[in-house]
């Protein structure tokens, strides 16, 4: 039925593929979740009894890493479309390595935060950082799973840039850019406080 509905000639008149559209809608709902958390942050901050501290530098590095990962995956996608099998695979591996590095750096960041005296339960200002970045990391893990599947396809299937595989790649790419942009927003929000 997925075939008959979505890959159906009737609907090719749509400029945007329904699955891509559905993914964007899902992203909108994730944005609302984080918007809820950051608004809660502001409301709680305005109420006083709020511990001020600066984010450990590790979070700056992790931000650079996730942005590079996004770029690497984008490069991989462009090479995939151009039919450059080797470049496509290697950039995808790079994107995956950077993605895993991001998670490690976030974890190190939490440890540094705790070592600096801001533990999970010290003050809501710190608790928010852990919860917001933790929930974001959970989304990144989802993205990593998607890239993992893409890697399996890249290395197990014969190289053939068909429409289906292109679509699949695009879905992964959109989500990966999304968690990247989301982190940039969260990072600016948290670091700017």
């Amino acid at each position: 039925m997925i075939e008959t509905t979505v890959n159906n000639p009737v609907y090719t008149r749509n400029r945007i593929h329904p699955k891509k559209f559905a993914l964007l809608v899902a992203c909108a709902s994730m944005v609302m979740m984080f918007a809820g958390l950051t608004s809660a942050y502001l409301v709680r901050q305005a109420a006083g009894n709020w511990l001020e501290f600066t984010l450990p530098n590790l979070f700056y590095y992790s931000t650079a890493v996730i942005v590079s990962s996004s770029l690497a995956l984008h490069g991989s996608y462009l090479l995939f479309r151009r039919g450059n099998a080797v470049g496509y695979k290697s950039l995808m591996v790079l994107a995956m390595v950077l993605a895993l590095t991001f998670i490690v750096l976030q974890y190190q960041g939490w440890l540094a935060l705790a070592a600096g005296g801001v533990e999970l339960t010290t003050n809501p200002s710190g608790s928010f950082v852990y919860v917001i970045s933790g929930l974001h990391a959970a989304h990144v893990l989802g993205g990593i799973a998607a890239i993992g599947v893409a890697l399996l396809h890249a290395f197990l299937l014969p190289f053939r840039p068909t429409e289906r595989r292109k679509l699949r790649f695009e879905l992964t790419l959109i989500f990966w850019h999304f968690v990247d942009l989301l982190w940039i927003y969260l990072f600016i929000f948290l670091a700017g406080q």
Partner: protein
């Protein structure tokens, strides 16, 4: 799909054949890979029509459970001196027997658990999943002219997450410490401190898990509904030709997608407070003489997050009912819906405003009274689009040739309920009047009438109207009408008196009132309400019996379009198979409300416009 071959070809079939859209759909006579056996056809089905039935029947199950719970706590409120020992076999230790007198009384803890579960179950499982889950699934593909949802797989998962949410909630009913008992709004500290009450421990944990599954279900469903409406409309089906049902489901899904994630955020923070010692919502609490570690949290913050979902949620419940009522009233009045575009714009206005009124639930929570003023104004403005809709429904019926079927009677009942309950909302929306009315039975009366009963009426109208499409048979009309009269009289009998008790200051969520001298003159009234509730519940059994009896024994539908409606679902075979139309997809030529036009009784949407004829939706 033998029906397709044997039914004589109708005019509709010919139109679809000539003008429809050929998408090279292949009908598999022995089922395709998604329908090859019982399990994939009826249980793990990806067919939107089956999923709709799954939502409906699961919703009915929960409605019976939630309804029975209310009867038990109503017995407590109406007859606090009577023994409930006879309930001991069902409720076990929650009925405490006095060893001297043999008198059985309902444990106060369980009373609160019942009230909480009743609210949670009816609001989320029945009126959200059971209503918009059922009808969005059934009608979106059928009325926009799609073979199925954009992603049938996600659609199936949406149902199973709902099912899982139900299982977890059901399990929580059997915990030795009881289910959660802090009210359906789950305010901290009762929700955030496991030791706060007996239901706040394991009961609350399961409540949270269940509702997180539920949020996932709503989001998966909503993503699909939105994508299907925007991307899979058939040829000619412009947005301005959509039936109002689809507009309502579409906007409902958007509201849900924007508000439920915020509820999920609130739940995550509650989980952290419960399990990991953070203090988002907890502040300087003493339990048993001991000060807890939690400092610096804000319980009001939870209320903000909750009501940011909570208020849109009430519109998530009522908008689908409004859509159904608009469609049913128009079909059964044999008149175009009055002010189609005004209806759409008022849905949009309500949706927008629903996001900026949430603090009217918090006038008495210590929010700044100056900030309250904004919320008062926006709250009162919501009455405007609501009034537009009411006016249009009445104008649709006015001068129409109204057929009094069970479906149309429930639709009319909906309008009555919505007016009664909307008016009391205007009282409550004034922050000064709310000082007296907040947390009284006036609020209980308000939201049961405007949301509870009205949404049930919309659902009943939908069930009676689309049952022939779901099962190829009719429900019994006479039983339906008896059900209607019993329900509307019963519902007013239950909730009308509550306005008086509320105005007198009787607080909601109390275990008994007879011990307060100020309220003791309401004892008889409370008995009356309880009896009315029992009788009204009994009338609902008529629906359940009628529903299941008619699935197998109801009068068979013999014509494709039994109500003479214009919309696309009635151009499918009487029992549509997988993919809905056996051949081409119908193409749409006109808006959905051509009734009594140009001397014709009605003109289906697939009928081309005559020479020089203007399309209805455009003016």
């Amino acid at each position: 799909m033998a029906t397709v071959v044997t039914t004589p070809r109708t005019e509709e079939d010919v139109l679809i054949e000539q003008l429809g859209y050929d998408d090279h759909f292949h009908d598999h006579h022995d089922g395709d890979k998604f329908r090859s056996n019982f399990l994939t056809t009826y249980v793990f089905s990806q067919d939107h029509k089956i999923i709709a039935k799954q939502f409906l029947i699961t919703g009915m199950f929960w409605a019976v459970i939630g309804g029975l719970m209310s009867l038990i706590f109503r017995l407590q409120l109406g007859f606090p001196e009577e023994s409930m020992a006879w309930l001991k076999p069902v409720l076990g230790k929650w009925i405490e027997i006095n060893p001297d007198s043999g008198m059985g009384s309902l444990s106060p803890e369980f009373y609160y658990a019942l009230v909480t579960m009743h609210g949670t179950i009816i609001v989320f499982f029945v009126l959200t999943a059971g209503l918009s889950g059922t009808f969005s699934n059934l009608l979106i593909p059928l009325q926009v002219g799609a073979r199925d949802m954009a992603s049938p797989l996600l659609n199936m998962m949406s149902y199973w997450f709902f099912f899982l949410a139900g299982l977890v909630m059901f399990a929580s009913l059997f915990l030795s410490t009881g289910p959660f008992a802090g009210g359906w709004t789950a305010y901290p500290p009762l929700s955030a401190l496991p030791q706060a009450s007996s239901g706040s421990g394991a009961g609350m944990t399961l409540w949270l898990v269940s509702l997180v599954f539920f949020v996932v279900s709503v989001l998966l469903g909503g993503i699909n509904y939105i994508t299907t409406v925007l991307n899979l409309r058939t040829k000619g089906m412009t947005m301005w030709r959509l039936p109002l049902t689809i507009w309502a489901f579409f906007i409902t899904a958007i509201i849900g997608l924007l508000s439920f994630p915020v509820l999920a955020s609130a739940f995550f923070l509650v989980m952290f407070d419960r399990g990991l010692g953070t203090s988002f919502f907890l502040n300087e609490i003493y339990i048993g003489g001991q000060a807890l570690d939690h400092v610096g949290g804000s319980p009001v913050l939870y209320q903000h997050l909750f009501w940011f979902l909570g208020h849109p949620e009430v519109y998530i419940i009522i908008l689908p009912a409004m859509g159904i009522v608009s469609e049913v009233l128009s079909v059964h009045s044999r008149k175009p819906i009055f002010g189609y575009k005004a209806m759409v714009f008022s849905i949009l206005a309500i949706a927008f405003l629903s996001f900026i009124v949430w603090a009217h639930h918090m006038f008495m929570s210590g929010v700044n009274p100056f900030i309250s003023n904004f919320f008062v104004i926006f709250t009162l403005i919501i009455a405007v689009p609501s009034a537009v809709k009411v006016f249009n429904w009445i104008a649709t019926m006015y001068g129409g040739n109204v057929r009094f079927t069970a479906a149309s009677m429930f639709a009319i009942g909906f309008v009555s309920m919505f007016i009664s309950g909307g008016l009391t909302g205007i009282f409550l929306g004034n922050s000064a009047i709310d000082i007296q009315l907040h947390d009284t039975y006036f609020v209980v009366a308000h939201f049961h009438i405007v949301m509870g009963v009205a949404a049930f009426f919309g659902m009943f109208a939908g069930v009676y109207h689309w049952f022939p499409k779901m099962y190829g048979r009719f429900m019994n009309e006479t039983l339906g009408k008896v059900h209607f009269w019993g329900t509307i009289i019963g519902a007013y009998a239950i909730f009308w008196p509550m306005h008086y008790t509320g105005l007198a200051g009787v607080p909601r969520r109390y275990y008994r009132f007879d011990t307060f001298q100020t309220f003791s003159h309401f004892d008889e009234l409370n008995k009356f309400i309880t009896i009315a509730a029992i009788v009204t519940f009994a009338f609902q059994l008529l629906l359940v019996i009628n529903f299941f009896y008619s699935i197998w024994k109801g009068k068979k539908v013999t014509v494709q379009n039994p109500w003479g409606a214009t919309t696309l679902e009635w151009t499918t075979p009487i029992r549509p198979g997988h993919g809905n139309w056996p051949g081409k997809i119908p193409a749409v030529q006109r808006w959905a409300y051509d009734y009594g036009k140009d001397g014709k009784e009605f003109i289906p949407q697939i009928q081309p416009l005559a020479e020089g004829e203007a399309d209805g939706g455009d003016h």
